[in-house]
């Protein structure tokens, strides 16, 4: 009886270790960029979400980390909701380094890409006290992408694409949204 119990504990331990290892490998694969990262979040889980509000604006912060020369790892680090409607006065981005954000809908609503400055390849404007201005290119291994999206009941997911002259357009993240 004792031996049987010890055997069961042994088997359970092995299985638990295997499951833990499997999870570790899965997370590791995600983090290593072997597969485009994907996650799911329910709208109700956004901070400050007010179900009674008629309109919501979704604020999302993604941390983008460069691994090696080619891989960009994305992590959703903040999701917060606000009440209201936005006019969407986002300025066009002309830089060859961009993050394109594509909200997709279950309805026939037109899907329009939004362009953002790539947080790992920034072009910054520097002012001098004599009134002169200049542009500088800065690169980093880690940066934050902050986006703002008007919520729609038909909003299904938000896809992130990295655009660089070296790699072209690459999907780097998918955020599935549950209403």
């Amino acid at each position: 009886m004792v031996n049987a119990t010890v055997f069961q504990q042994f088997v359970s331990g092995v299985i638990m270790r295997k499951i833990s290892f499997l999870l570790f490998v899965m997370i590791g694969m995600q983090l290593m960029g072997c597969k485009t990262a994907e996650s799911t979040i329910a709208i109700r889980d956004f901070k400050n979400h007010d179900p009674s509000a008629a309109d919501h604006i979704l604020f999302l912060d993604f941390e983008i980390t460069r691994r090696g020369k080619k891989t960009e790892v994305v992590e959703l680090v903040n999701a917060v909701s606000g009440r209201g409607k936005m006019k969407n006065l986002v300025a066009p981005v002309q830089s060859p380094y961009q993050i394109r954000v594509l909200p997709t809908y279950s309805s026939d609503r037109p899907e329009t890409e939004m362009a953002f400055e790539h947080p790992l390849y920034r072009s910054v404007e520097v002012a001098s006290q004599d009134g002169r201005l200049s542009k500088h290119d800065l690169s980093a291994t880690q940066g934050t992408l902050s986006i703002r999206v008007q919520e729609d009941k038909a909003l299904e997911k938000i896809e992130l694409y990295s655009i660089t002259p070296e790699k072209g357009k690459t999907k780097i993240y998918t955020l599935n949204l549950k209403q």
């Binding site: 997370i27 979040i41 901070k47 999302l60 917060v80 909701s81 209201g84 910054v124 001098s128 006290q129």
Partner: protein
Amino acid sequence: MTRFFTLILFFVCFNCFSQNFKVDTIHQSGSIDKRINVVILGDGFTEAELPRFKEQARLFADFFLAYTPYNTYRNYFNFFSIPTPSKESGVSNPGTAPDAYADQPVGKKDTYYGASFGESIHRLVTVTKYQALSNVLAFNFPSYDLVVLLVNTPFYGGSGGSIAVHTLHSAANTIGVHEIGHTFSYLNDEYWAGPQYGWEAANMTAESNPELVKWKNWLNETNIGVFKHGEGEAAKWFKPTEDNCLMEFLDKPFCAVCKETTTERILQVVNPIDKMTPDTTEESVLSEDAKTFKIDLVEPEPNTLQILWSLDGKPIKSSGKEISLSMADLSANAGLLTASVFDSTHLSRHPYARGERTRMAQWKLVRSSAPQIFKLRVSDASICPGEFTMLTTSGCVGNVSWSTGETGASINVSPQQTADFTATCKTTGQPDASLKTRINVFPKPEATASNTGPYFEKATIEISASGGSSYYWTGPDNFLSQIQVSLIENATVKNSGVYEVRVVDLNGCADTARTEVKVEPILGAENPVNTLVRVSPNPAKGFVKVSTAQGGESVFTMFDMNGRKVVEKRFMLQTDINVEGKSAGLYLYKFSNGEKEISGKLLIQ
């Protein structure tokens, strides 16, 4: 994986604290959804320093709203500030950049948004705590349009991007305005930043032909031309000014082309029609009674909005924010009323502006379907003698006849006294229907006017009227007065003439009366040597000397203008007469000596 992120988010939420802060209104010209909302944040201000942040935020808003062309469109913007306390005052300074200020303390500060001078470019001041930024905006003002972040340090620095960041240095405000030029108006820089920054924008083009360049309408303006960005790669691109625009130098104002672009962008985002009354989502039913349609406008300063009202495409009024219509104005059972608003600002010479940004308010009109009832309407039930009033019938399918013998839907009547009028509707197959109304005629006021003249120059003219409650005088030398008894001091001959007064009573009825005023010049040498009597001085003040060459007793008698005797004196050859205490004005005198008699005028001052 889903659970993994849900777990992370739960963890984040578990650790989060309240992100709600008081939003201060700096300048609110309208509702959030109908204006451009600028939110000002502050970093490196401790709890005790928040009043200073609020003051700095107000100063930046004032600076922005005074900057051309934003000053013209200040009513198109709202400004708010959100004070967030930092644990430490100031800003982080790594002090590692080659251009670091020698006198600036180096060190890390624990601030709300983690603003820091640059590690490799010192003047590049950026935030590092993006989540804090998202949280504050989402919790407190998610509908923002533009964000400016003020960093609590007097050292110069700032940055652009999705938010404009700058320090409190006195010259740093223009960093914010310049960066908003990029983010809001999509302006490009007018300094050469490198070939990767060359693209078509409102103020940058590869087209150098003056007849084709996109700012050709401004080429006759000072400083505006087609300027090469530089040599080599830069020579492919052109800009409208050389060293004369905020998009090139921060100590310059916007050039005309950037002002135009900014103006067009403002007018693209904000509709100058702020409100429409009645609501346009439902049909407006027009009946016999006039209905007023109104638009509330967001007016630029100066107001360059042009308004045109049209009904079914036909212009009916070219100004004004409201119009009144009744079913009589409809040519069919339905119609479309349109108010078109166009901003004719001189800040823009955009050739297609009228077509592209004429904003419209439209109301669908329908004629009332209420059953037609025979009605009699009087434009004015009480009138003054001589006036007329209009009697109008509606709802008669047949013919209308009047007690005056006239026919037709409406007549004008002008009774001299209170009278009744009857309209009869005669419709075949139906009994006649009659309606009666009484027109009340007020009694006519009786106006009178008089004056206390005649006068000599320098006298005070007094004109008076009676018969009403209001008096409207007109007279010579552009005289106007609304005083029942009016005085004109220091009269001159120019004041002579007919004065007319319009007297209005409490019923609004009027009558006019006139009075003629005579002003004569002051008598200079009225008494030649051989005259019977010499009276001097004339005008007199205090006393008057009367002398004659006639022997024997003489009598000098004075009368006021009402004919009352005020002086009588008997004398031989000469006498002085005390006129002290006599009212100023014109008097008549009579001199007699035996059979001889003469009369004249004496003015006492």
